[in-house]
């Protein structure tokens, strides 16, 4: 599992084995069973999850009892509930959609690790900015995009989730009804399927 994290970091920064050993001391590895709840609203979470194997999600349950998916995190994705950074209770659930093994990074991990590997400070900035950029695009999609546009964007971002996640859950992430998602996929099939 640590090898996967090392490989992930080495795609972005130069890192020796010795440096990696230094910066991986504070990291724990945890396994979650399918459907296991990792975080519930009201808890304060200071943890960041890096998924080595499996799939977790962050979601809320609204007043009608509907689950609204904020984010999926398959392999090599990060997931962190951000109220915890400010010591405030979580608004969201996190649970495991599949049996998952994740690295658990403590709060301020990158700032602490940057003491040993200074370029991690810049990496953290880049990752945070990327996250914000991603959220902006997602808000814009949810405000203005058609169901088909949302779906086509989703399959570029998460190419294998259509095989791993039920359709209603994808629809929830996209902010459309399961019937709309079904219609989008049916229309695509009519366009592209040549029996």
């Amino acid at each position: 599992m640590f090898d996967q994290f090392k490989e992930y970091l080495r795609k972005k920064v130069t890192l020796t084995d010795e440096q990696f050993d230094l910066i991986s001391e504070g990291i724990k590895v945890k396994t979650f069973e399918k459907n296991q709840i990792i975080l519930t609203p009201g808890e304060i979470s200071t943890k960041t999850y890096f998924v080595a194997e499996g799939l977790i999600r962050c979601y809320s349950i609204d007043s009608k009892g509907k689950a609204n998916v904020i984010q999926f995190a398959p392999e090599q994705w990060w997931l962190s509930e951000r109220n915890g950074f400010f010591n405030e209770p979580s608004d969201f659930f996190i649970d495991a959609i599949e049996h998952t093994t994740a690295l658990i990074l403590p709060r301020n991990y990158f700032n602490d690790a940057a003491v040993h590997v200074p370029c991690l400070h810049d990496l953290n900035n880049t990752m945070l900015n990327n996250s914000i950029r991603f959220m902006q695009k997602r808000i814009n999609m949810l405000l203005s995009a058609t169901a088909e546009e949302r779906y086509l964007d989703f399959i570029k971002l998460y190419p294998n989730l259509t095989l791993r996640v039920p359709q209603w859950m994808i629809a929830s992430y996209l902010g459309i009804t399961p019937e709309s998602l079904s219609r989008v996929r049916k229309d695509l099939a009519h366009k592209h399927f040549k029996p």
């Binding site: 399959i155 294998n160 259509t162 095989l163 099939a189 592209h192 399927f193 029996p195």
Partner: protein
């Protein structure tokens, strides 16, 4: 004079812990997950051991899912399975029937207990095989062979000891019902206690037998029972079978396909790039549409 050497038994394997597939089928995966076996071109063997299906108005099963790059072979032993695919094929597989579905370039598929059987309830038992295809054929047009038991050629053993149903390949001159892309043999031997017969396959063919029912002695030395899978080494050409009880035996033997395998879920291709293409094609509707 018979100069052939006997194939040695390399492993006798108990059924792995069964898992629920969809909401209906309870399946032991002998390979590739349960045991690491050299059974190329047979890529996967799922065995739903005999079970009592409770009556249900709403048929249970596995909902819409894709396949690319291989064939699924479904053999019903007890009960009945209804299926439908995105190319417009549908039907019911009754005991003794075989569905040989060539997914090839891509198809969507669903499988459920057949309606009347589901309402009635009863004994269910089934095997599903995934048969790999050569690279040159993996993107061929999907094809569907619904093989009824009465259309399967049968070799009749002497003294009414039973029959060998030749589903694919050839046995003692009886040709298999299914058309295949590579040289392979699939038989159902339905035999009485005391039946003895020989199986003959080239030594380099990967060979195994699934004991669906009953018990046998193999090569006069190895006793095996219901729900076990027997894997053979790549030496020798003959297997001697003697049934020690009324038995049903699924026989698999095939020439290995000497090509790399890249698999992701229901896609069995040759390279990582082809898997990425399969995902992209599936997501963009190139496998068609099938209502849940």
């Amino acid at each position: 004079m018979n100069n052939r050497i006997l194939k040695t038994v390399s492993a006798v394997l108990d059924a792995p812990e069964p898992q629920l597939i969809g909401d209906g089928f309870l399946v032991s995966n002998f390979f590739p997950a349960g045991y690491k076996l050299q059974m190329n071109p047979f890529f996967l063997l799922d065995f739903n051991a005999k079970m009592e299906l409770a009556s249900s108005l709403e048929p249970k099963g596995i909902g819409v899912h894709p396949h690319r790059g291989f064939e699924t072979v479904t053999i019903a032993y007890h009960g009945a399975v209804a299926h439908q695919d995105s190319a417009g094929n549908s039907g019911v597989i009754f005991p003794g029937d075989v569905q040989w579905m060539t997914a090839a370039k891509g198809i969507l598929h669903k499988e459920f207990f057949e309606q009347e059987f589901s309402i009635r309830g009863g004994i269910f038992q089934m095997v599903q095989l995934w048969v790999n295809m050569p690279a040159k054929d993996k993107l061929a047009e999907p094809r569907y062979q619904a093989i009824k038991n009465e259309d399967i050629g049968k070799y009749i053993l002497e003294d009414d000891k039973g029959v060998i149903e030749v589903i694919a390949g050839i046995y003692n001159g009886i040709r298999g019902a299914a058309s295949t892309f590579t040289d392979l043999h699939v038989y159902n031997a339905r035999v009485n206690e005391g039946a003895e017969f020989l199986l003959t396959f080239p030594s380099h063919y990967n060979t195994g037998i699934m004991i669906i029912e009953g018990s046998l002695i193999i090569n006069e030395t190895t006793t095996v029972h219901e729900n076990q899978f027997v894997h053979f080494s790549n030496n020798g050409e003959e297997i001697h079978i003697k049934a020690t009880a009324k038995s049903v035996i699924l026989v698999l033997s095939g020439a290995p396909i000497d090509e790399p395998v890249a698999r992701y879920g229901p896609f069995v291709m040759n390279t990582k790039e082809e898997i990425e293409q399969a995902l992209d094609d599936y997501n963009n509707g190139l496998f068609g549409y099938l209502e849940e």
